[in-house]
Symmetry: C2
Subunit: 297 residues, 2 copies
Amino acid sequence: MLTVFGSTALDTIRTPTKTLKNVLGGAATYAAISSSNFVKTGLIAVVGDDFSRKNHNILSKYLDLQGLAINKGKTFRYDGKYDNTLSTRSTLKTELNVLENFKPIVPEEYKKSQFVYLANNDPEQNTKLIKEFDNVKFSMCDTIEFWIATKRNAVIKMIKSVDAVVINDEEAKLLTKEDNLIKCAKKMMSWGANYVVIKKGEHGALLFHEDVIFPSVGFSLESVVDPTGAGDSFAGAMIGHLAAKKKTSFSEIKKSIIYGNVMGSFAVEKYGLAGLTSLKKSDITKRIKQYEKMVTF
Amino acid sequence: MLTVFGSTALDTIRTPTKTLKNVLGGAATYAAISSSNFVKTGLIAVVGDDFSRKNHNILSKYLDLQGLAINKGKTFRYDGKYDNTLSTRSTLKTELNVLENFKPIVPEEYKKSQFVYLANNDPEQNTKLIKEFDNVKFSMCDTIEFWIATKRNAVIKMIKSVDAVVINDEEAKLLTKEDNLIKCAKKMMSWGANYVVIKKGEHGALLFHEDVIFPSVGFSLESVVDPTGAGDSFAGAMIGHLAAKKKTSFSEIKKSIIYGNVMGSFAVEKYGLAGLTSLKKSDITKRIKQYEKMVTF
């Protein structure tokens, strides 16, 4: 199985065409629902006692929730606004609420997970948590500007403790203090990451391993309405595919990147989680084939 | 043969690491020297009587210069400065000089060119010039912000008169007043372009034809010193490859895009024209193979 650890949130998302208020979101929610298309996925996260039955039902439809704590207090809330071109998001409000003092517990069953994804939580907590798994074959982490700004050394230490880092281009530059993405990746590999994936939004992603680069394009879309969770869906698909195949060869990791690009493309086509929750397995297979055909020359 | 019409300039290029003063440049110079690696290329352009023998010798080494006018006055001069990340260039000075009143003449031999590339000159002049060729099999144009701002309708008319438009992403958005690149391409196709290529710098390019999209990655480089002329080198390589093959099938156009990405990558590795003029044929073949290997999954 795959375990995903990270945030479950109630998001307010303001796009040029629609505002969603207090809808189910969070990095771990997107990543885990994305990965659940490929493999059984357990979620380690926390919500407050304000978390609705409806949202709980959405999570339980896709995920194993033994790792979901329901604590006294309010669920983590995020409020952000996109610009008119959907390329920049400004944060209006972040309320950590129950996330602030959360002590994650790894359920016994999850400890056997061979695949673990640490979404963008506190890097110190991530580094500690990964040690509780008995037999990790492949682990991956992401991080965000907030942790780079406040706990850069802990982020670097976390990178040492996982097999792969998945990070977006701006955050890769911020973290490594380099402008060139190859230099960014080399630095993260020098810190101990065996694989580095730099996500570039609509432009796809670059995978780095030793001296090899695998660049991939994004799946081109005419209509993008809400980029929220695209990067998380990308990462979830990657590790979900690997966990399903139980393989971690470089060739399989390259394929997992294609799944990442495809699941990221579904995420942005609809508002909030709808891009993922309205999917059929056949939609994914079909788009993977379209992707393969599209890039052939 | 291939005919390239456009600007030959004396550039002052200010990069974070080096400033080049009054060096040989211009869209047509980059495009034509790039295409000359694949096919005999004739240049239609103008320089002033201040154009040095050394620069003339560089051009004549690669190009047929029957179409090069040497007029009384100063050569077109451009002065631009890149920011520290090399992603934005500000124009400090543009002196049209002899370009201002240039009346291009197509030499008899060039009129038989089956392949014609109109670099970013005055769109009205481009539309007029293309009619002087007797038997065009494939024509392509680029344009720049200046013409979009001052002669948008003429740009649209020019697009109608060629087979393919090659344009960078920002200018495509500006010209079409659309934010999404698929929408940009559809609009340009609705204006009469059979093929649209949107260049995205380091992120590669998107080729559009009817309902098909062919996205391609850029060739990843660890060291980029001067982006000047990369897009022109891309376009020159594209049409140069097609002219060499004498083919214009969609499949061949896709391949030409790979040549475009590869020649663009050579252009940015060195200052000014040096990335192109220091090349051996074997360097190109080698990088094309690297590119093909790199993107395979």
